[in-house]
Amino acid sequence: MRQQLFEFVLQLADTSLVLGHRLSEWCGHGPVLEQDLAMANIALDLLGETRSLYQYAAVLEGQGRTEDDLAYLRPATAYRNPLLVEQPNGDFAHTVVRQFLFDNYHYHLLLALKDSPDAPLAGIAEKSVKEAAYHLKWSSEWLIRLGDGTAESRQRLDKALATLWRYAAELTTPTATEAALQDLGLVPDYGALAPAMQAHAAHVLAEATVPTPQFAPFAQRGGKGGQHSEHLGYLLAELQYMQRAYPGLTW
């Protein structure tokens, strides 16, 4: 059980780290200063959550590894983030759609996780759920603006939805580890999260005047099992460069 919880916490940590990394790539290059700030802010929240999760994972593992060991010294095939979050930024519409799909899952997951009988995990969720609520508000509002904005923004949004929707299902498709933890009641039943997630998505898409995308037969998964897209390797080469180049030092 401890091993499974370790794996699950690691999966969450990898997910926040990778998405935070992607958002931080926008820093200094955002479409307007206010949104540059907003994305840096979300990246910072995710990074904070990442650190708490890795620290807890390190405790669960009990092998003396640190948060930095876990983040910087594992190869791509050991990373457990779902495919969605490693997808490149693309244009702002891609970033917004990726964020919306993640936030809708992340917020509802944390909302349930904060009642987990595992106190440390519940504590992290309790702290992060407030931030996640703000993230979901931000990405929902932007999805609406882009959908119900100009012809160009709508076209870009449609393309982003067509590209990214296929990665949504993996978020709530339990791995064997997640299923085992769900049976133990440590992790919420994803099926139980679905109505609230679907209701929110339906509301936002309706406001955005966008029909719900249908990509069921093309749902992509693999990342949570270590089967990633080729994008992750480049991301990690950059993220891990310093720790790889100068092993064992203090910064």
């Binding site: 931080s24 290059h29 479409p31 307007v32 990074l47 160009e152």
Partner: protein, 318 residues
């Protein structure tokens, strides 16, 4: 003739308020030259914050620990915030953000030349915090008492955060200098690259700085370039020694008689060359800003279009 006398008297009154250290506020009358000088200076300062995000942003994805990554990301985010409230301060003088950005993108408006130097190693994050923010603080602390109210108040907040950033930069340097030999070398190599450019941050020599006198009279400026540069050297040389580093200037020696550090001559050719656009990163920096602006234009348009649609719907519903 009457108008001229009236204007003269307004000018005199204005100067009298300045001399009495009374803050000028947006609705107060002010000479055109004062307004223009301030718009130029504040927008340049705002642009520097925004362009200044790039050299540090360059290391966010490669920061060597999660903690340092979080600190750096927060710092760059603060710079975006500084940019925002400096643009607001300039707007109180009648400048529009669109126009200020257009001037930046066309090359008409300047930003601090220090950001035209590249960040090439992690130690640069230390040097930028320690030296560049250190120089910025020396330039900016007097601006907390500058005569124009909104600018002075913005600078209070900026300076508070900058001094926090400066300490973080120094801490990076300390960690490197207390670390492995390869880390200390990295710190020294970065200091070698950043030392002279930071001395240039105080601007040309007083003898080459024709605007200083008027700016000091208006209390937009309170110390001359050379005074601040001396102050900086006097502060930083001992800090470098404390770190176990050597500033790349053989002439940097304590002068007992002057009770100050002597130091070598800045390479003014390099200074003017970078100001004129020939720094290693001028092209890339401006390009990055222009590209973000152009590629982001549709986002702003969409937001405005949506707001208009929504307003129209609400008007119908009401």
């Amino acid at each position: 003739m009457e108008t001229l006398e009236k204007d003269l008297s307004r000018d005199d009154q204005f100067q009298a308020r300045i001399d009495a250290d009374v803050r000028i506020e947006p609705k107060d009358w002010m000479p055109d030259a004062y307004r223009k000088t301030l718009i130029r200076q504040i927008s340049q300062h705002a642009h520097s914050e925004i362009v200044g995000m790039l050299p540090e942003g360059n290391w966010i994805t490669r920061a060597p620990s999660l903690k340092r990554k979080a600190i750096l990301l927060a710092k760059v985010q603060d710079e975006a915030g500084h940019g925002l409230y400096l643009y607001s301060a300039a707007e109180t003088l009648g400048a529009s953000r669109d126009q200020m950005l257009a001037d930046l993108h066309s090359g008409k408006a300047k930003y601090s030349s220090i950001f035209n130097y590249p960040t090439l190693s992690w130690a640069d994050m230390g040097c930028v915090g320690w030296l560049v923010d250190g120089a910025a603080i020396l330039n900016q602390v007097p601006l907390c008492r500058t005569s124009y109210g909104p600018y002075a108040r913005a600078m209070v907040r900026v300076c508070k955060e900058e001094s926090f950033h400066q300490r973080q930069g120094f801490e990076i340097m300390q960690t490197l200098c207390a670390g492995a030999p390869v880390q200390k070398e990295m710190a020294q190599e970065a200091l070698n690259r950043w030392w002279w450019p930071t001395l240039m941050m105080f601007g040309p020599k007083d003898s080459e700085s024709p605007n200083t006198e008027q700016s000091m009279k208006w209390r937009i400026k309170r110390f001359t370039n050379d005074e601040l540069r001396q102050k900086f050297v006097d502060m930083m040389v001992p800090q470098a020694e404390f770190l176990g580093l050597t500033v790349p200037d053989e002439k940097a020696q304590w002068n007992e008689a002057r009770q100050a550090y002597d130091f070598g001559e800045v390479d003014w050719n390099e200074f003017w060359s970078v100001v004129k656009g020939n720094g290693l990163c001028n092209h890339d920096r401006l390009q990055a800003r222009v590209q973000a602006h152009e590629e982001g234009a549709w986002v702003l348009e969409a937001a405005l279009a949506h707001a208009a649609k929504r307003a129209a719907r609400e008007a119908v519903a009401a």
